[in-house]
């Protein structure tokens, strides 16, 4: 009798779940910026300015991410500490003031201790952050933490700010894998859906290396997970949504020569992806970033234009949805007799603000986060030529 009651409860629960499933709203499509309402200022006068977003308060910094604030300032985040993986690594924040064109003094916003208290878990180290706007227009900052082992043991946390980065909520843990919730990392820019969910491009590093897309609902919960690739060579996906349903993804390649950025497409708002293919663009096993330029369908990519070393930071443009790429600008370039891993440029982040300015942030010699701000005129002024 007791078992029959339990069984009846179970069937009732399953029927309720089935009912809820049938009444779920259909999945959203990619949110497209309303170009008509865009405030982008088109000017023929090109400008390009560089400075440092970090001011050497830590020996090492890495993996910058940035967002535009409501007052048009730019807020950047990165992780810094004695060295990558050290227990003293924290997430730093700094503001670039649009009126003075100057960076403020960086400050620590997230520590191991803060993360431990928020997630009620032991935290050994912190890693990559990625920032975006939530459906309520608050700032959502995703960042990696590790409780055991190396980066393959990573999990993702989410903290939110409802006061434009002045204060941050207790972080919550995203549950992304069934195996001890291990091995989900972030690098790419989140994408947005019309139903308010956020698409977070992530990657897996335990045993295999492959890209995934997490869908995060308005409560900050993972509600779907899409495997974008599989195997041991593709990671750190970036996504360009080119229409409501279509997208191009590119990934860092961690395999044998020829070492090229991987590419794939989706025609169902990221729910499924074609198999990854090698593009014409070189990749030395390094992170890349991209954005779709305002007022155009052109794609912008920041990458290391070399198969072996991270000794340059280059920008390429595609006017045909990623089929071909033109090298637009070389932002950094070393001319060293021997490769020096301490003098590399890596982990770029791109942001285009409402006024049309493009902000590029990247790790400079591991010691600084460098910031370049330029406009579309500068980007298009000199064409370095077609890439192979």
């Amino acid at each position: 009798m007791k078992n029959k009651v339990i069984f009846a409860l179970g069937i009732f629960s399953l029927l309720t779940l089935a009912w809820q499933l049938l009444n779920q709203i259909p999945p959203g499509t990619f949110y497209q910026t309303d170009i008509a309402k865009n405030q982008t200022i088109v000017t023929d006068t090109s400008f390009y300015h560089t400075d440092f977003a970090s001011h050497a308060s830590t020996p090492e910094v890495h993996s910058a991410t940035a967002i535009e604030l409501k007052n048009n300032d730019v807020m950047a985040f990165w992780y810094g500490g004695t060295r990558e993986g050290h227990q003293d690594v924290s997430i730093y924040q700094n503001i670039w003031h649009n009126n003075t064109k100057q960076w403020d003094q960086e400050k620590i916003i997230l520590t191991r201790s803060f993360t431990k208290k928020g997630t009620s878990r032991y935290i050994r180290k912190l890693g990559n952050p990625a920032v975006t706007r939530g459906p309520d227009n608050s700032i959502w900052l995703f960042y990696v933490s590790v409780s055991i082992g190396g980066w393959a043991g990573s999990a993702i946390n989410l903290t939110q700010s409802h006061d434009e980065g002045q204060s941050w909520s207790a972080p919550k843990r995203l549950i992304t894998t069934p195996f001890l919730n291990l091995s989900t990392l972030i690098k790419g820019t989140p994408v947005h859906y019309t139903d308010g969910t956020i698409g977070l491009p992530v990657y897996h590093e335990l045993i295999g290396k492959f890209g995934e897309l997490l869908k995060i609902n308005v409560r900050g919960e993972v509600v779907d997970k899409i495997r974008m690739s599989w195997g041991k060579t593709s990671l750190q996906p970036i996504i360009y949504s080119t229409s409501a349903n279509h997208a191009i993804a590119m990934m860092r390649f961690q395999g044998a020569a020829p070492k090229r950025i991987l590419t794939q497409t989706s025609s169902d708002s990221g729910l499924s992806w074609t198999a990854v293919e090698k593009s014409s663009l070189p990749n030395p096993g390094a992170g890349i970033i991209g954005l779709t330029l305002n007022n155009s369908n052109k794609l912008l990519l920041a990458f290391n234009n070399d198969e072996e070393e991270r000794e340059d930071m280059s920008l390429a443009i595609s006017a045909d949805k990623g089929k071909t790429w033109q090298l637009a600008r070389i932002v950094e370039e070393n001319h060293l007799a021997e490769a020096d891993k301490d003098k590399q440029f890596s982990y770029p982040w791109l942001l285009q603000t409402k006024n049309g300015n493009i902000h590029l942030l990247y790790t400079w010699h591991k010691s600084h986060i460098k910031h370049a701000v330029f406009n579309s005129a500068w980007l298009h002024k000199v064409s370095e030529g077609a890439l192979p």
Partner: protein, 216 residues
């Protein structure tokens, strides 16, 4: 060493359940070790309960269950039920536990390699019970769960039935941090335990009432 009690007021139900599960895992593991070494039952229970309580106490900012939760993440509802069963009745009825173990092993041997990236299909994604990829897969998933519940009912596998039903109810209520029903049904720790138990049972088949009439 600063000793400071954990503030329970600021902890959500999800966190509380997660931490309690880890503390239960630690105390039941210790209980079974103590009973294995023939320590007196009352003393064993006292020590196990003491560990359960201590695991909530903060030592220099870290509680024991914080530490292990960082390593293991939250336990599934099935694990919590089995641990509670072991705690209440250390001499478990294998007729009740073996069906769960068998099911866990069969599922886990397919599930974990594929969920960890072996091949293009990710069965973990099926557990979100989402319309994103159509309704066929989630409806099959829910139907399979109903079938398993019915199987457990007719075979009088009470622990299996309770695990399936409570996992579904808890998923429905969002009692764990995950929104994926797989995380409510099982976890790697119970899978590894089940695998060990099944292998051990196969080696001592004659002494195992569950396997006496089974063809494996």
């Amino acid at each position: 060493m600063s000793l400071q009690s954990l503030s329970l007021q600021a902890i959500s139900l999800q966190t509380m359940l997660g931490l309690t599960g880890i503390s239960l895992l630690l105390s039941v593991t210790l209980l079974r070790v103590l009973l294995f070494f023939k320590l007196k039952k009352q003393l064993s229970y006292f020590i196990a309960i003491l560990l359960f309580a201590i695991s909530f106490v903060s030592f220099s900012g870290n509680t024991i269950n914080f530490y292990f939760r960082g390593l293991f993440n939250d336990l599934s509802i099935t694990s919590l039920i089995l641990l509670s069963y072991y705690f209440i009745q250390p001499e478990t009825d294998k007729k009740q536990t073996q069906p769960i173990f068998l099911l866990l092993v069969i599922t886990g041997l397919f599930f974990y390699p594929t969920a960890l990236g072996l091949g293009p299909v990710d069965p973990y994604a099926w557990g979100f019970i989402s319309k994103d990829h159509g309704i066929t897969t989630p409806l099959i998933f829910l139907s399979l769960l109903a079938g398993l519940m019915y199987f457990a009912l007719v075979k009088s596998y009470s622990i299996l039935l309770l695990s399936l039903v409570l996992a579904t109810l808890c998923y429905h209520s969002g009692l764990l941090e995950s929104r994926n029903i797989w995380d409510y049904l099982f976890d790697p720790l119970v899978f590894i335990y089940a695998l060990t138990a099944i292998i051990s049972s196969l080696f001592s088949k004659k002494n195992n009432p569950f396997f006496q009439n089974q063809r494996l």
